[in-house]
Amino acid sequence: MSAAAQALGATKVYGSGDTAVLALDEVDVAFERGRFTAVMGPSGSGKSTLMHCVAGLDSLTAGRVLIGDVDLSTLSDRDLTRLRRDRIGFVFQAFNLIPTLTAQENIVLPDRLAGRRADAAWVDQVVAAVGLGDRLRHRPSELSGGQQQRVAVARALAGRPDIVFADEPTGNLDSRTGAEILGFLRRAVDDLGQTVVMVTHEPTAAAYADEVVFLADGRIVDGLAAPTATTVLDRMSSLGA
């Protein structure tokens, strides 16, 4: 099975000289197609940096990132923007919805700005999957946090990306709505054939994934297949995280 995204010898240094911080230290990781992968680690372990670099939002100091078989370092800014638009979806902790637009408009705006027509049947399927049917005409301020994050998940999936990156998607939600969102991400993988990479520090969230990758001090230190909250917690404590 080919990887949807992979990092090869990924190294990221912030700053220079004495104040330089090594955020990623020659990380090799592959995210397989049709899988749900969680990236875990203590704060400062480089997990968000890894996600941003693999998603093309930030550039590496050394090493390579491949989306499919495209090396991101070979792309111009313009091509990189286009690749993110066509092949990558994002879900963030803070939802990042546009307050003046309705849920529906938020979901289809990326396609419209890209000068494309959204695939209506697919968008309907996505909206149904996240259970937003009757809330589509509401603005974000009229929606609960959980509903806003559902809109963000639907927006990420609407463009039929190759891979969806979620950065602490449940960080602003209570555990029940958080579980709903994780259920949708799980369903996006199982029912819609999507690929999801999620950064999280919650073992219960990681338990929704097919596998967990553990980061510490900018390195991959461990991995776990078919995780449960308990096995993730055990592994975290043995890593001293």
Partner: protein, 76 residues
Amino acid sequence: MFTTLAYCGPGPWILVFPLFWFGLLALFAWRFARWGPPWRHRFGGGQSVLDEMYARGEIDADEYRRRRDVLQETRR
């Protein structure tokens, strides 16, 4: 005496104006297809990239405003 009998239709110059307008329209159509609608280029390419990033949720509203201000300042 004035007569129109000798008149045997317009010369080829009659085509100049239609061709001119056709060419102009074709140019607009090509530009539109190539770069998208011109009203998206109010502030140049940087602005549309920024709009798309905001629309996809890659940056939040504060980040969007901050970067937009920088873009507009450098343009002034």
